[in-house]
Symmetry: C2
Subunit: 333 residues, 2 copies
């Protein structure tokens, strides 16, 4: 009998165990390549890169390459590229405008300021392209430079739709496709590229990463309003405070009455928030089943991700990747 | 008799005339490739890219290719890459921290805010790497990704030395080598690379761009304290207000007495500046011949740039490039 795909942290542990040596090599390369004679660069980069994180994206590259039967070490450097690009976007995402600074931040930015975060992000981005150039595959360079442009487009679109409650679900989806799914898709796709697998497998891994990325972000957006998170001592309400328009809000807004819509307009568009407003937002989202339905939507994308894996024969890596889908969604349960 | 290399704006006009058609093609490509369905991206990018500027760096790529006898159109796209990288660094250089915002800004940043400047910079940076990937030369990718990393290192080093009057001349030089000379050197070097010229010509063009870039930045740093600039209605004192440690300041500080050093410490390190302090700074810099000597230093690098051109036969392009050296230095006369 097949071992069922584990959910929760077990799935992550299972995947890590399968690529353990590669992941360690990747971590070593990351530390080595973020070095610079300008000491502030590794200092600040370490604050994000070495601060742990799940290394989910490089793990996906390593696992995808293994799924494709790749025997070599190019995937290690490319996994490091993926993590560098991700870290650069995190650093740049930390950059704030004057208005937000008043609210206080808990990020590299808070410790070092806007400008170092931007410049160290640029450094890591450049390093990623140096690593890719050393690898020598124009195909990989094309996939990751396209992903980088798409990420920037998604992030700008997010800014444009921020504080605008008339944002459509299609626009919201375009934002998360750009800011999250594009790099997940590229990370898994290049696993097939290094292994020189047929186009169908490349496309399957791209679809897997894309759908997993959307599911991941939907769950993230749900967690930002989840009472359970609060009970666990985790931060909620960041999106609310920033006026980010996410699916839980869009669903609650669409299902709400006139007074509720006025509440969303005041808090998200006019940015007039009283201390009790977050609790009210959570209550409205809960009452309209908006969290449940956001997670259900995530499950739909998760199912699509699993479907995409069907072109690969069953085996421990495929099962571990399926487990990652369950892991991403289980975070919300 | 040879026509002497023109100084001033004439030299720029002469160079532009030689690469006119290529420059127009490059400008068209820039506008075309900064397009995005996310309208804010071309809007903000246009604010810098299309706002004119001298297009000095792409001009150098186009001229270097022509100097090497290149007959093709790859240099046009690579010149656009160089301009995209330059524009991205300008946008990221505009990013400010809370303290600086209080002083007011006149930049894309002032119109759009920190975050759009960062993200559109990222987009242009990604686009540059897409263009390079389309071009297909791993050698060019290596040169420009290395330059991008070096620029970021130079900019971070500049931050680290800011407000520190004990910065050495060697550190100052490392800053301007990174933030300015690296891209000038890459811009000219790739002219030889596309033309597939021998290593000696590649190195000569790299040395030309490197020395020209240092001369250019030295003059820029001098102009920021030049009374003549003020009379022309141009801004002076930006570096002073930001506490940037540049050669005019280092020379005046080293040559000053105890009271003067205390002045530099208070204004640049403690950032305590009264309205009349800029005039006092200019007066000290003038009295110690620090502007004159900064420009003399620039002339030395300019001479080294001219020397580097000697491996190429005399002709209109070589003369026009020599004219650009004179142009960069003449700005300070």
């Amino acid at each position: 009998m097949k071992r069922p795909a584990a959910g929760g942290e077990d799935a992550l542990t299972a995947l890590i165990a399968l690529v353990q040596a590669d992941l360690e090599a990747c971590n070593r390369l990351i530390v080595q390549r973020m070095h610079s004679p300008v000491a502030l660069i590794p200092q600040l980069a370490a604050h994000i890169v070495a601060a742990g994180g799940k290394r989910l994206r490089p793990l996906l590259t390593l696992a995808a390459a293994q799924l494709c039967g790749y025997r070599g070490d190019r995937h290690v450097a490319l996994a490091a590229c993926v993590e560098f690009i991700h870290t650069a976007t995190l650093l740049h995402d930390d950059v704030v405008d004057e208005s937000s600074l008043r609210r206080g931040q808990a990020s590299a930015n808070a410790l070092f300021g806007n400008k170092p975060s931007v410049l160290v992000g640029d450094f890591l981005f450049a390093r990623a392209f140096q690593l890719m150039t050393d690898d020598g595959s124009l195909k990989v360079l094309g996939i990751l430079s396209q992903a980088a442009a798409t990420i920037a487009e998604g992030e700008v679109l997010q800014l444009v739709t921020q504080n605008d409650i008339s944002t459509t679900e299609a626009q919201y989806l375009a934002v998360i496709e750009g800011k999250t799914a594009a790099l997940f898709a590229a990370a898994t796709r290049i696993g097939a590229v290094v292994a020189d697998r047929p186009e169908a497998e490349e496309r399957a891994l791209d679809a897997f990463g894309h759908n997993l990325g959307i599911a991941f972000q939907l769950v993230d957006d749900a967690l930002d309003y989840a009472a359970e998170q609060e009970r666990l001592g985790k931060t909620v309400g960041d999106d609310f405070r920033e006026g980010k328009i996410t699916l839980p809000v869009l669903l609650a807004h669409a299902r709400g009455d006139a007074a509720e819509r006025e509440f969303w307009r005041r808090t998200l568009e006019d940015k007039e928030q009283a201390p009790e407003d977050l609790a009210r937002a959570q209550e409205l989202i809960e009452r309209h089943g908006a969290l449940r339905d956001t997670v259900a939507r995530a499950q739909g994308y998760g199912d699509a991700a699993l479907e995409a894996l069907a072109v690969f024969p069953d085996g421990p890596v495929r099962r571990a990747l399926a487990g990652i889908v369950a892991f991403c969604i289980a975070r919300a349960r």
